[in-house]
């Protein structure tokens, strides 16, 4: 196992670390804002983050400093920072740990981001189910406010930042940044047509940056230890730093593991997560949350960085790695994810709204052994007409499980359909009308 120093999980790995302000200060907390507020020009903070190579940890992997740089320089009105704590991508459970175990690390990151972009108000959009996480954050914000780290004229620097917790109410799509903004404005969480992008027309139509919890939690470390240090970790130049990978499914020890980007899936699954739970071998894995296409045992030596996983035909996404053992039906697994996407389609774009319903019905009948051979063509045709034809990336995500299982495990579909067709020959009365 490669040895490495955890960055984001370092504090909480100590048994006596409670995540309180006192604990955080004891390990050097809020030193980064002392270093920056009033002493460094905001554009130099952005420059440092660009130099570190930090990329968004929510899924898309967009360079954080570049995203900040898109905000209009000469705009005089308010700007906003939104922390995306919606953590709704199936297979992902890292932000929950970062918020509940070390809330001040993320709050300090938010303060730094606010300083860099010139925002005086920031919102944490946290998924509604994280009631405990929201309470912990509220408590941490109150502590930091009392200590003068949040509020007006922070540490006498003249910088003002206020941070508010805003709970979502149960909608996967609100992890998409423009849907998040709509939801924060009190509307249905429907993604916006882009452009314009949030950098110019975001929350309340004002310049806005939306960053993921893990992205923000990295910022104090980049400031304290320098962008060069950060850029030397992982798989430079394009995938720098560590990632917290969330391992779930048929492994011995599922959980959150922070490793430098660029380790292989084999190392993560077999060394960190303890390997398969029984003697059944690995059959498939999802490399980056439910939206990422399935990969096969042939891909175990792929490096876990943005480019390598993309080259293997999938994506590193949110860092949720789900492992499936031999014996798991891939058609069933694809249906399970399709049920999720069908439930969560927001309904704005017809290819996704109608397509997800059609896909889920087709998949249900194939799994129920009532499929027909032309169903495979229907699936492919539908997938091709959804991907790339919607306002947000949901359309591409929802076809990923079906497309990738059709690619790698097509025979599982055909054998289910053959079984159904053989039964239909014996019992023609079972044939049901279909659209």
């Amino acid at each position: 196992m490669s040895t490495h120093e955890p960055i984001l999980l370092k504090n909480m790995l100590r048994l006596d670390y409670s995540g309180s302000l006192a604990d955080y200060e004891q390990v050097g907390g809020y030193q980064a804002i002392r270093k920056v507020f009033g002493k460094m020009a905001p554009k130099d903070v952005t420059q440092s983050v660009m130099k570190s190579g930090l990329r968004g940890r929510g899924g898309a992997g967009f360079p954080t400093g570049v995203k900040w740089g898109f905000l209009p320089k000469d705009y005089q009105g308010p700007r906003y920072l939104c922390c995306n704590a919606d953590e709704s991508e199936p297979g992902t459970f890292k932000d929950r740990q970062l918020m509940e175990r070390d809330p001040h690390q993320m709050l300090e990151g938010m303060l730094l981001a606010c300083y860099a972009i010139g925002a005086e108000v920031a919102f944490i959009y946290i998924r509604g189910e994280f009631v405990l996480g929201a309470a912990i954050l509220e408590r941490a914000i109150a502590e930091a406010r009392r200590a003068g780290y949040i509020g007006k004229n922070i540490l006498g620097s003249g910088t003002t930042v206020d941070i508010w917790v805003h709970r979502g109410a149960g909608a996967y799509i609100c992890g998409e940044e423009t849907a998040l903004l709509e939801s924060l404005e009190g509307k249905r969480g429907l993604p916006r047509v882009k452009p314009p992008f949030p950098a110019t027309h975001g929350l309340y139509n004002k310049p806005t940056v939306v960053n993921n919890v893990e992205t923000l939690a990295n910022l104090p470390h980049i400031i304290n230890r320098g962008p060069e240090w950060f850029a030397s970790i992982g798989s430079p130049p394009k995938s720098t730093g560590t990632r917290i990978f969330c391992v779930s499914g048929h492994v011995k020890q599922p959980g959150n593991y922070e490793v430098p980007m660029g380790v292989t899936f084999r190392e993560l699954i077999y060394e960190h997560a303890g390997g398969m739970r029984t003697n059944k071998p690995l059959k498939a894995f999802i490399p980056g949350g439910a939206s990422a296409p399935f990969l096969t045992p042939d891909h175990l030596d792929v490096k876990m960085d943005f480019e390598s996983v993309a080259a293997a035909g999938s994506m590193l996404g949110s860092g949720g790695v789900t492992v499936l053992e031999e014996g798991t039906s891939m058609v069933w697994a694809a249906l399970s994810l399709m049920e999720f996407f069908y439930h969560e389609s927001c309904g704005k774009c017809s290819p996704c709204r109608e397509g997800s319903s059609w896909l889920v019905q087709t998949m249900r009948r194939i799994v129920a052994k009532q499929g027909r051979s032309q169903d495979l063509e229907t699936l492919t045709d539908l997938c091709k007409n959804i991907a790339g034809r919607t306002v947000c990336a949901f359309g591409d995500a929802e076809v990923a499980p079906i497309m990738s299982t059709l690619d790698h495990w097509r025979s599982e579909y055909t054998s289910l359909i053959h079984e159904a067709e053989a039964a239909n020959l014996l019992h023609p009365e079972r044939l049901t009308p279909r659209h």
């Binding site: 048994l15 199936p90 009190g186 789900t322």
Partner: protein, 175 residues
């Protein structure tokens, strides 16, 4: 009605946002907390508070799964059924609950205590199978744990098996 009882809290919520409508979901939560679900009267009152039309409130309220427009049991059991939980036994978990309470998904027990829902991913995939009951998460569930949770809820209204600040694997087990 909401206003009389919660004026201070409502003012505090409104003070956070530069645009009033942003307070809509927090106020709907408040209404739900007061009555267990969101009534039409509450939605009309919130509309007036935020200078919105009742349909504007309704269109938001109907989008989000955590906002209940119908009464649910005192304990709302939500079992995650997404793939990550399904791989390690969410079906079995739903089966146990069904045996113990006699209710399936979308049903409420006759005494009004429990409502069971099968829901999509709750971001606890490493500690599956799991469920949320009202505000609390219960993870790495076994039949014995489910027994104890349901019994404790019946008798005391709470259960110590609920998850605290989350970390998995726990630091001690990492050594």
């Amino acid at each position: 009605m909401l206003r009389e009882k919660n004026q201070k809290e409502i003012d505090e919520i409104l003070s956070r946002y530069p645009v009033k409508r942003s307070a809509l979901i927090p106020l709907l939560y408040l209404a739900q907390r007061e009555q267990g679900f969101i009534t039409e009267a509450a939605m009309r009152e919130i509309a007036a508070l935020l200078q919105l039309t009742p349909p504007q409130v309704y269109e938001t309220a109907t989008f989000y799964t955590m906002l209940n427009l119908k009464r649910v049991g005192k304990f709302h059991i939500q079992v995650c059924k997404s793939l990550m939980c399904a791989l390690v036994g969410s079906d079995t978990l739903i089966g146990w609950i069904k045996t113990k309470l006699g209710i399936g998904p979308r049903e409420t027990s006759p005494d009004g205590l429990f409502t069971l829902s099968a829901v999509e991913c709750l971001a606890a995939c490493g500690t599956a199978p799991m469920m949320q009951i009202n505000d609390d998460y219960y993870e790495r569930l076994t039949e014995e744990k489910v027994d104890r949770i349901l019994a404790d809820l019946r008798t005391t209204g709470t259960c110590s098996l609920k998850t605290g600040p989350f970390m998995w694997p726990e630091p001690a087990t990492k050594a």
